[in-house]
Symmetry: C2
Subunit: 518 residues, 2 copies
């Protein structure tokens, strides 16, 4: 299916849609509490450089733009139309789009099949027929449309304007808000994203094919409720997953979820186990929650050489006795040995946690299939040289409170763990709960962050850093933690809000690559 | 074991230790980067009202206090001594404590058996023998000691000074930092807590017996690595769990975790499955992570009548077709019927999420054993009266984006769900990711929070509210979300940082009470 002419055609058609020379917002409004305002304002705020037309039968002016009374009155070509008018006027608009040579019409407009009403579903079918006749592609209805920071296209003004390398397709617009909102502080940045709602015309398979080909996208994520064509989607998924990591969150896995999905995007969802198995079978990663989705997009984008790499490098470090700085392994030739012995598990080294947290991290790692070996001999030798009093006491994870006052810091031990051939994965905890008890928390956190950033820039091992949320009553603490987080995110460090989530991401990341290489 | 004279004796002995008339800090220091400073400063900052003595051979004055050259020189009685001097001087201090009639000696001092060195372990044994001879109880060594906001006792100045009703015993001091640090913004407040390290004398069973009896403690939490006496502990656990909910996080569940525990608190940990089963058997709740620990302490403290109740009320709402406001059920007589039909699952009603999030919440609930029924008839009738256009479309979870512009708010539907006999559990999402896209986010979030607080004050159903972390680059957003969070926490609402965690907590909470009633 994919790789053939129709798949390439659709990818190049969507590429054109993502690069409109002119956009018209039909149903534009000067009222800041309406979608017709949001779209115009977002495109202006993001610095969209094509021509931008506001269309509203009232005419006049808004946001510094002349308002055209209809799409017909707009001067010059229009490639892309955003529709915020009521459902009953959409059919007429589709015809106008056809006349004007519009390539794609995005329907923010809802109240179609998702209402469960036969007349609304009938209108939706008429819209599709009219669009086919007019040669106009439809995105939606009942969706937010395109996000493309590189071209200044957004449906919300408060999204990050920085371009990244994660491509995302979402049946739900609100879920895309959440994803960007909660992911942004941790450095999650999008090449392009699309919210496509009821998938009346362009659907999940089309967008997935596009992201598989898109050179700006290194990692693909998807939130799906129903599928228009399951067989076609799985073929597209297999093709995409063969080219880059794909993370899929499937909603409507259960009876209650499926019922909610029907009223949300009129999607016919399928049972959980079937889809989860099919997604894995296709070589993608299935996740169950938005938290896991964000964590795994960050994992694939940042865990391994996020700071340096242009392309995703499959991880297979622990099969190679991979060493730290310098010449990385050629991983392509490595194959996973099924039934590998226990001591072939990826070996994690950790710094920056207190005693209890170190114990719990070791437990969680073991429970999730990661090994936490004792401090490797080469590291132990270095510890003994530098801090003889700690020799034979400090272990892995390296208990930060044992180091306290010894003159030996966690950052130094982290570098030694990076150099050790006995360690495959690195985990470092900012431990701000402890730092805030010290009189110089500000200096400690900044210094530790810079040290971790140095290691991230050098290491070839997957490396995750933990910094908790900035939920402080005191503004000074909120500011300090946000500042440190921004610094780490800007340095493209893989950031996690808790040790638990970092360990889960490392475990799934390594298991994914093992499965891929099987 | 518990309920007998020795158990009562130990509880009353610990009660005395928690109420010292005078505290001496031995190894007091004017250097803000030392524990000897932290203890003095924390006691002053918390407003400890007993007499406070600084002891240091150098004499002089610090933090406005005269410094005594030895414990012997302090005037008047000393009930409690905090020790920050090196291990080699501890034996002598124990003897001085005996002479001065000190009741308890808390050893912050470490480098005893946790180093794994025979001489250090030998010294530890001598300390215990000397303490027994001197009639002095030991807390520690290698621990932070007591937190008791009600008496102005703390080991860190930046803990919350507000007293709550959660009692906590922790083998790890750093873990207690994390717990208080991450729990505080969500309103987690402690009656009393203790970090007891190596448990040389007073141990986990002693403190658990104490919290079981303590009138200021409604919910008990514990972080344990090893146990001094497993049989005695399980008896104490069974007794405590019979009186109040007990949540146990066991570290050292695996080989690697156990090795870390040995170097942390010299604890001999046991295999995971055995302990998890034993904890459940005793009627307590076993959790695996700090996140789950915080979530479940908040669940038991706040999910049900946190705003009103003085005592914990067992939950059995869904067995009774419990109704909302007004006369709550007498739950004592309700018994869990094993093999209950699927439709006896607790039924959750949710508002405040967008479409995708509603779908995923329904999925997660079903996967964790909660039912998410369609909108109950009584609620549907009210929706149809108020907003006829939504009738037959909006379902449960109530998709906030369907309500948008209808004049019907999520808060109103939440009240109707509370009134409906077809709903047992309530979940409300602040949905700030959406609100921040609106021009009046500030007003929206404040209004929604107040509405949720009203429902929390009235409902007799377990009710959880979700508000995400305040990890914003913009100070204005950080401030706004923190302000809303503080308001919700002060109103004793059960607050969760994600829908996922709220659903997990509700599911474990109801399952816990079902098992208790079996």
């Amino acid at each position: 299916m994919t790789g053939d002419a129709p798949a390439r055609d659709i990818a190049s058609q969507i590429e054109t849609i993502f690069h409109p020379r002119a956009i018209a917002v039909v149903g534009a409004s000067a009222n800041p509490d309406t979608p017709g305002y949001d779209y115009l304002h977002s495109l202006q705020a993001f610095g969209y450089r094509g021509r931008l037309y506001a269309v509203n039968p009232k005419g006049g002016e808004m946001l510094g733009l002349p308002v055209y009374r209809s799409l017909r009155e707009t001067p010059g070509e229009v490639d892309y139309v955003i529709c915020c008018i009521p459902a009953e006027h959409v059919l007429e608009l589709v015809r106008e789009c056809g006349e004007r040579g519009v390539k794609a019409l995005q329907l923010f407009t809802g109240r179609f099949s998702e209402t469960g009403r036969p007349d609304a579903a009938g209108l939706e079918r008429q819209v599709l027929a009219a669009a086919r006749e007019a040669g106009v592609r439809i995105i939606g209805p009942n969706c937010m449309g395109l996000l493309y920071p590189g071209q200044g296209i957004s449906f919300r003004a408060d999204m990050s304007r920085e371009a990244g390398s994660v491509g995302f397709l979402s049946q739900s617009g609100n879920l895309l808000f959440e994803l960007t909102h909660y992911g942004a502080p941790r450095g999650l940045r999008f090449s392009k994203a699309v919210s496509y709602g009821n998938a009346l015309d362009l659907d999940e398979s089309d967008f997935l094919q596009y992201f598989a080909e898109d050179a700006e996208t290194r990692v693909v994520g998807a939130y799906l409720e129903g599928l228009r064509d399951g067989r076609r989607f799985l073929a597209a998924l297999r093709h995409a997953a063969g080219r880059k990591p794909v993370v899929v969150l499937k909603g409507g896995r259960t009876g209650a979820g499926g019922r909610a999905a029907a009223s949300h995007t009129a999607a016919l969802a399928g049972p959980s186990a079937v889809w989860q198995a099919a997604i894995a079978q296709a070589g993608a990663l299935a996740v169950d929650t938005v938290e896991d989705l964000i964590d795994m997009l960050i994992a694939f984008d940042r865990l391994q050489g996020g700071a340096r790499a242009n392309a995703i490098r499959p991880y297979a470090g622990h099969r190679l006795g991979m060493v730290g700085a310098g010449g990385g392994p050629s991983t392509r030739s490595v194959r996973f040995a099924p039934g590998a012995a226990q001591d072939e598990r990826p070996r994690l080294g950790m710094v920056g946690a207190g005693g209890g947290r170190s114990v719990l991290t070791a437990d969680l790692c073991e429970e999730l299939g990661l090994a936490v070996p004792p401090l490797p001999e080469d590291v132990e030798r270095k510890v003994a040289e530098r801090a003889p009093g700690l020799a034979g006491w400090v272990t892995n994870p390296v208990d930060q409170s044992i180091l306290a006052g010894s003159g030996l810091g966690g950052g130094q031990v982290l570098e030694w763990l990076d150099e050790s051939p006995q360690i495959d994965l690195l985990l470092a905890n900012m431990n701000e709960a402890w730092a805030f008890g010290r009189p110089n928390a500000d200096a400690i956190l900044s210094r530790v962050a810079e040290r971790f950033i140095q290691v991230a820039a050098q290491t070839r091992k997957p490396f995750a850093v933990v910094l908790g949320p900035s939920d402080y009553a005191e503004e000074e603490r909120r500011r300090l933690v946000s500042q440190v987080r921004d610094r780490l995110a800007a340095a493209k460090v893989a950031l996690y809000p808790s040790v638990e989530r970092a360990v889960r991401a490392l475990a799934r990341f390594t298991a994914y690559w093992e499965r891929r290489q099987a």
